[in-house]
Subunit: 152 residues, 5 copies
């Protein structure tokens, strides 16, 4: 509810375009008051509703305290993963990443969709990930690209 863009809708739409949607997997969506509620919500989706992977979407605000809260939210998501042996992809768009609201909305769209696709790949096409190892892939922005080889 805190987030200023409905990233969940983007992630759901991306997943619905994946080849195996409806056939091999379906989607559960939960909305929580703030991103600190994501960790336990993810754990419940996994343990109580049988989800095989979770995409956790949130938007930390601009204030210094928001950064601390984002760190705590991330620790909760991390712990949820380790206690369930299940991946939870954290998709945070920080409100201060862009000044322009339209650009910020675009980052929300891109990052939510990129990570929804990653979640799909992790379950059904892991070779898509290994093929991209070391390529400097960025979610939400242009990729940084690979470094090239060391000189000697």
């Amino acid at each position: 509810m805190f987030a200023r863009y409905d990233m969940g809708a983007e992630a759901v739409d991306e997943l619905k375009q994946c080849p195996l949607y409806g056939d091999r997997f379906e989607i559960r969506r939960r909305t929580v008051p703030g991103f600190k509620d994501l960790g336990v919500a993810a754990k419940k989706l996994i343990e109580e509703e049988g989800c095989a992977i979770v995409v956790a979407l949130g938007m930390p605000g601009r204030a210094a305290i928001d950064q601390v809260c984002a760190h705590e939210a991330s620790q909760g998501i991390m712990l949820a993963q380790l206690l369930t042996n299940t991946h939870v992809l954290e998709v945070f768009v920080h409100e201060n990443e862009e000044e322009d609201p339209e650009k910020l909305a675009q980052v929300c769209v891109n990052r939510a969709r990129d990570h929804a696709r990653n979640a799909y790949w992790m379950l059904y096409e892991p070779e898509q990930l290994s093929r991209r190892a070391g390529q400097g892939i960025r979610q939400g922005y242009d990729d940084a690209g690979p470094l090239g080889q060391p000189r000697n």
Copy 2:
């Protein structure tokens, strides 16, 4: 006891105005010495007294060390959630959010009541939450609002 406003009384009053109060749920209240005691108190309410959700209210002070303590308190609340698969809504009003004591008291009232209502919705009306996804909702202050759509 550390908090300078009785936020618990506000939360209880809000919950008593919820439609199913007395019928589907009742309220347990515990007071602890400081906010670092909230994590285990919440866990005990869940595991020993059967609470289905907890609202944890506290007021971190102005000093730098209080921010570190608030972070530790938050980590405890996070862990309580993950170890119980139960939501614990953290409601902290930082003493330095407002200089004016009356305004600070108002933030206490608003945030305690907003989160008490969220707790109710999470259990009995989750569609109230999903309806507000991506709307930039703020507890204790005016909402930030949604971003609008990306340009392209």
Copy 3:
């Protein structure tokens, strides 16, 4: 051993003055090398010696690294609580709270005794705590007091 005042002796003396001492409860005391050893010491007191509550006393030093260590010590105490469903009251007096050694010693005395009393109340007189909710109580110093009511 690191602490520069024997806060444990103060806490023990305060507890011995509580009404039910010797009748309903007795006291176990352990000394550890540094405050990072408090977390596991508290957990062992609870799990191996049957303690119903623990008061953990320590004095972080003045250096920047001491603040990090205090944070780690606090995280350990927090975890001890959550893994045992038992309150461990953390009573830290930071060496830099007061320049004057006599004043610092006085803070040690007050805070150790206030929290020892809190521990007693939590077990035997919880209404003493609920009566003080929202009153801005401080351990070791004068209370901050309540905020008053919001204007509207």
Copy 4:
């Protein structure tokens, strides 16, 4: 995928040159979207695929937020180790360690290979580690070397 150099390929190549490769051990490799996914991936490799040790490779970016994320990723790797009683060697090359991409690539190569070799030694030649105790060994750069003896 985030990393800008395929450190995994270097680690695998180094391990294939170890004496017992193919005879006593084989290699499993997994690619994850970002380094925050390493902790649970390592835990799954250990618990679900029977790995006896894991080398976790990642490249934190230059931004301040990347440092926080790296800290969270490290905490996840730490927790994976403690929950499995299995070593997970964290091999992070921070993008800001070197300005020159070729030098940065060289650090990636060296550190990935050094830690892959460490992983091998931990399982099959622990005396290689004890022999190097207190020698100021650095992975990815020249060693710092021992301090020498105290004067008195």
Copy 5:
């Protein structure tokens, strides 16, 4: 291996001079690549080899990132203790504590030996610890000493 002084050798030597060495206890020593590997190594020594206490020795480097890593290493050691109900004495000498290598080596010697002795006392002579409560004891340097009494 990262440490620039063989603190383990000092700790072992100190323990060998303790009255009950060889009679009531023996010593196990493990060397790990870096201090982030100490937490799980300690846990394995306790759970897999039956150690009753562990002394974990490390030397964080001078860089800012080393301080973060030291914090993570400490969290791992803390968690190892809480998951095993066993003390693990963390003995870190920060490379930036002294500029002069000989003085730094002396801190390594003193601190390793002081904590090895503490470990012995915790198991066999706990009254040595309680006698030193509140005395401002420092490991590796001169003691800070007690504060004296509050004025009133």
